[in-house]
Symmetry: C2
Subunit: 306 residues, 2 copies
């Protein structure tokens, strides 16, 4: 077992992965206000939107306006998800610092979400990566379904290993491993990183957790033991599913920051400022955010029982 | 580090610790229906109510009627919280299998909640324990605020150690350590059990967690590593605070059962039956339960994102 880290880095994905699943439409100016507020919390990286076809994710159809409207903080890296060449061109025009490219360790998931095979997604992102590198734009790769797939069940970790190697070979240095289903327990996380042995170290990996069944912080804790230092998280725990009211989304940034703080692990993030940023989106969504820590900090009358 | 357990035991405290904090009044017949449903899930122990003065906890004023109304399953131990001699007499008349007696590792918390000092609570419960043992009624001791107190801040673990020794000396074999504030991270849990070294082993302890800041499963996971095999939990994550809408309560039984199941740890509990039991109380409260796993299982349309 590795030592506990002295610091971790959190990548805020709420404005993208969180908002893409909201059934309530959020005005562009609210998104801009949210991202501006998040930019002042101490976060170093914010995934601000996705340059996807509006019919695919109507919630993020305003990606260009969002990027044009935000006050860029020079200490923050602004990322956007890009599904294809067209999205990449829009992202480049919008002046993103980094693009995120997606595949999944499941043939069926790729087919359902990207309309091609795993190999098809790899072929699709390869020229974009080359372009981005030549344009000095950062690249992060997402591998979804690293533990389980909604269509295929348990993931073959050899597939995760192979996709990781392919991404590294393309020159992608930042790879986020997506526990898409929110079903993992700590041993699953350790098994996954064990399967990457010799390909990519936990220290160089990003873990992307969903808190669908309440296990996300337990998995993050185990991942820190394994050596992971970079985590995606979503302010207020934004995300979930529009068809399942109340379902939890990504691991909440507040929960992860609180957890780290109590453990003496530095995140560089001001929890009060983060809660204030999340309140902007809570008010816009008119629905309570799911982050436990956010909720606990909303009311000073919280009375403990036994 | 101990081995992972092959099984854990869950004590369901929802009908007591969960319901005592609800602002909405729950009809006695609904409580009876809930407890009867919980009794058929495979749970071995249910804290069904508290024999407290109705002006103190009006939500549980019907403890006598609840105990008179439930269909006792012979495989289930039915417990009730008892704050004093009068409560003990009511519990004895009601035919409880076990009583739970409360103190806290904080002078101010004891004063605020029991109107006496720590020593005062110990003196108050001592004759009740003697009586209960002589009547062949089981006894469990609760020590609240084992990590932090809302009034005094960080808990002195020497106090936890001393109270534990006093409870053991009285003949209390089951002691539940209450992380009342829901602020603990895994290292806090390990430190607490380390402080009990030579007094009580983790294997013989019960851990009572609140999920106020989303850390409960991470703490439960670490506790299992430490050797803990018995956990209090609340169906649907019932609990929280009537003054803080949305605030989380006890660690959710569903989350703990799901976590254990995924880890290959036996609980003896049928998750579907548990979710069905929780639905009874959700309908009565007319407010969404907080358990992540419960929520995830409510809707089969749950669509994963990335």
């Amino acid at each position: 077992m590795s030592e506990w880290p002295t610091s971790i880095q959190i990548i805020e994905v709420g404005p993208r992965d969180g908002l893409q699943n909201q059934s309530k439409s959020v005005p562009t100016e609210t998104k801009i206000k949210l991202i501006n507020a998040l930019s002042e919390t101490g976060l170093h990286c914010i995934e601000a939107s996705a340059f996807v076809h509006p019919s695919w994710v109507p919630q993020l159809a305003d990606a260009d306006e969002v990027f044009a409207g935000i006050n860029k903080n020079e200490n923050v890296l602004y990322t956007a998800l890009v599904p294809n060449e067209r999205g990449w061109n829009r992202a480049l025009t919008a002046g993103v610092d980094e693009i995120a490219l997606l595949t999944a360790a499941s043939e069926t998931f790729c087919l359902q979400n990207t309309n091609t095979s795993i190999e098809g997604t790899i072929q699709r992102i390869r020229p974009i990566v080359e372009d981005a590198i030549s344009c000095d734009v950062g690249v992060r790769g997402y591998i979804s379904c690293v533990i389980e797939c909604p269509y295929e069940g348990e993931t073959n970790l050899q597939t995760v290993r192979e996709i990781t190697q392919q991404m590294l070979d393309m020159g992608i240095k930042n790879i986020a491993f997506g526990e898409t289903m929110g079903v993992a327990v700590p041993t699953d996380i350790r098994r996954m990183f064990d399967a990457l042995d010799g390909v990519l170290s936990p220290e160089d990996s990003i873990l992307h957790l969903h808190d669908t069944r309440g296990t996300a912080l337990a998995c993050a804790s185990e991942a820190m033991h394994c050596g992971v230092r970079k985590f995606d998280a979503s302010c207020g725990g934004l995300g979930g599913c529009p068809y399942a009211p109340g379902a939890a989304g990504n691991i909440a940034t507040e929960d992860l920051v609180f957890f780290a703080k109590q453990r003496g692990i530095e995140t560089g993030i001001d929890l009060d400022a983060l809660v204030a940023a999340s309140r902007i989106i809570e008010e816009a969504l008119d629905s309570p955010l799911k982050s436990r820590t956010y909720r606990a900090l909303q009311d000073s009358h919280t009375r403990p029982s036994s």
